[in-house]
């Protein structure tokens, strides 16, 4: 196991954002953490990457206890996160932005800048290298966020909604980029609302609702899980959906019988 959470809890005042969460991210996989708005997904990312300390529980990375380790130390160990609300160094160019991450392993400025160009090429930003980050489009900013994370040479990259705010074509362009990252041996855990992408990319899914895990398993089983459907569509919606599904199933069986 690459990253493991053991009964991790965190609350903000009276709000229990994450309760007794346990999960294990295996090596060399692309998995997803999904859930309705306010489920606590980003809090989980913050707990994993050292931006928040858990009230209870343990975080293990590569078998080492990293509970309470500051964010920059986590990055040094190979655990890097990106942000849902993109956080570029707005006054710096794309190349300089990525070089900051590259400096984690490269001391020399010219090496870091050269490495930044390589990473930019990997995510399709090569033509924008000398643009100031503040002039980028949303899609390019998302790529920059990805590139910066990647430039730290992580073993596990936590992607927080890198597809949010993109149009269908931009999403379609982004999917092979993410697949390409996994192909280079980087494990990825993504928070994502775009279900088409989750179904398309992830091998394993965790579903979080109101701070608790309600589903963990392979992506194919996700849409069949009653609890997940309930969390997304409410109890009444789930019942309606079940009815429609039953009807479809009935029709299919009828067809098979008649054939």
């Amino acid at each position: 196991m690459l990253l493991e959470l053991r009964a991790v809890s965190r609350s903000f005042g009276g709000l229990k954002a994450v309760q007794g969460l346990s999960l294990a991210v295996p090596k060399n996989t692309l998995s997803a953490l999904i859930g309705p708005n306010g489920a606590g997904k980003t809090t989980v990312f913050s707990l994993m990457s050292g931006f928040l300390k858990p009230d209870q529980g343990q975080v293990l990375f590569k078998g080492r206890d990293i509970t309470g380790l500051p964010a920059h130390e986590c990055a040094k160990l190979g655990l890097t996160r990106t942000f849902q609300i993109v956080q570029p160094f707005a006054n710096q160019t794309v190349r300089e932005n990525i070089a900051v991450g590259a400096h984690l392993h490269l001391n020399s400025r010219s090496d870091a800048l050269a490495y930044a160009s390589d990473v930019a090429a990997q995510v399709g930003l090569a033509s924008l290298l000398d643009q100031p980050a503040r002039e980028l489009t949303v899609a390019a900013r998302k790529r920059l966020e990805l590139a910066r994370g990647l430039s730290t040479r992580p073993s596990l990259l936590l992607l927080d909604e890198v597809l949010a705010g993109l149009n269908p074509q931009e999403i379609a362009e982004m999917l092979p980029v993410i697949r390409g990252i996994v192909a280079t041996g980087v494990s990825v855990l993504m928070i994502e609302h775009v279900m088409q992408a989750v179904m398309n990319l992830a091998q394993h899914v965790w579903v979080l609702s109101q701070g608790e895990l309600i589903f963990a398993g392979p992506t194919q089983l996700l849409s069949l899980d009653a609890g997940v459907i309930e969390a997304y569509f409410g109890v009444a919606g789930a019942a309606k959906l079940r009815k429609v599904q039953d009807q479809q199933l009935q029709q299919q069986q009828d067809k098979e019988v008649s054939a």
């Binding site: 964010a71 160094f89 900051v100 002039e135």
Partner: protein, 353 residues
């Protein structure tokens, strides 16, 4: 490399002035302008590159001046040796101030207020303590010789402060082309994003404060050597803090030449207003204030920013000429969006679920 060449050129050109001119007015102006430049450069390391706006840089300046004086008067040290102590102790004070402030996550106006408070506390301490001479101040015996770091002509002081300015330029050039400098600017632009990329903001900000404080302490020691007299209001007073930050802001924060251009321009302005308005007390501060507001509003990137904007404009004009047929050059950032002010970046909240 380009930076090093321009620094060398600057050093040679300014260094030649006392060789060719013996005009007391010119050399005195040059000395004061270089002195103001040094203070602005010191502030620029922390404020311009680190985005931590200090309002009390006089605390390091005054400490440098007092240590320089006390080591000579009480310990009988040679001023060149004392200089080492002055710089070192100012740097240590910087480490202490930064350690306390950044440990508790002080940012923006809170950090500015804490530095202001530090300077005031040191001013009052210096007024009331006996070993600092209290309000009477400290006087250095006049003894002009190179070994005493006291020069009979302004030329010696010009060369002395020029060497500090060149050192500060080299440090600034290092910030522009090194990992530490990249980390410092990353922390300035977005601390959370920097942390995610493996940057330790606390350590980076502390080291920047140490560098900044050391240069400021050198400025204080220089002041003592020139005027041979200090008192708490002179060296811990807010006018020193203001001079340091105004020069950097007017010239252009976070740039190599901004503090040089800014401090020199202001010193020229001060000279002109002195001639125009006579010795009307405080007139230069009125002009400082007005200018600061105007620059903040119309030139957030300072005087150096004008050149950059002009360069960018001629570049986009050229590229849009060549690309005129295909696309519209909509990438022109326009006058206002080129804001170089580092602290106004939106800080998204990574903790929201």
């Amino acid at each position: 490399m380009k930076d090093l060449r321009s620094i060398l050129l600057f050093a040679v050109l300014v260094g030649l002035v006392p060789v060719f001119s013996h005009s007391g007015v010119l050399l005195n102006w040059l000395m004061m302008a270089l002195f103001a430049t040094l203070l602005s450069q010191a502030w620029n390391v922390l404020g311009g590159f680190g985005g931590q706006f200090s309002f009390g840089h006089a605390v390091f300046f005054g400490t440098g001046a007092y240590v320089q004086a006390l080591l000579q008067l009480n310990a009988g040290l040679n001023p060149w040796v004392a200089l080492g102590g002055a710089v070192l102790l100012s740097a240590l004070l910087g480490a202490g101030l930064a350690g306390v402030s950044f440990r508790y996550g002080l940012k923006g106006s809170y950090f500015a207020l804490v530095t202001l408070a530090f300077a005031e506390v040191f001013r009052i301490l210096a007024l009331s303590a006996s070993f600092t001479g209290g309000g009477v101040g400290l006087m250095l015996p006049l003894s002009e010789s190179f070994t005493n770091m006291q020069f009979s002509s302004r030329a010696g002081y010009v060369l002395l402060v020029l060497s500090w300015v060149v050192l500060a330029l080299l440090i600034t050039a290092y910030l522009r082309h090194s990992r530490f400098g990249a980390y410092l600017q990353a922390v300035r632009d977005n601390e959370d994003a920097a942390r995610a990329l493996g940057v330790n903001p606390f350590a980076v900000k502390c080291w920047a404060t140490v560098l900044s404080a050391a240069l400021m302490g050198a400025g204080g020691a220089f002041y003592l050597q020139v005027f041979q007299y200090i008192d708490p209001n002179l060296v811990y007073g807010s006018h020193t803090s203001i001079a340091a930050l105004v020069g950097a802001i007017v010239g252009g924060m976070g740039t190599l030449w901004g503090p040089v251009v800014g401090a020199m321009a202001l010193e020229l302005l001060a000279e002109l207003t002195r001639n125009l308005f006579g010795e009307l007390p405080g007139i230069n501060l009125v002009i400082y204030g007005t200018l600061l507001i105007l620059i903040m509003v119309f030139l957030p990137r300072g005087l150096v920013g004008i050149i950059d904007r002009w360069k960018a404009k001629s570049k986009t004009a050229r590229s849009s000429l060549s690309a005129a047929k295909t696309t519209n050059p909509a990438t022109d950032p326009g006058e206002w969006s080129t804001s170089g002010e580092p602290t106004t970046q939106p800080r998204g909240d990574g903790d929201a679920a």
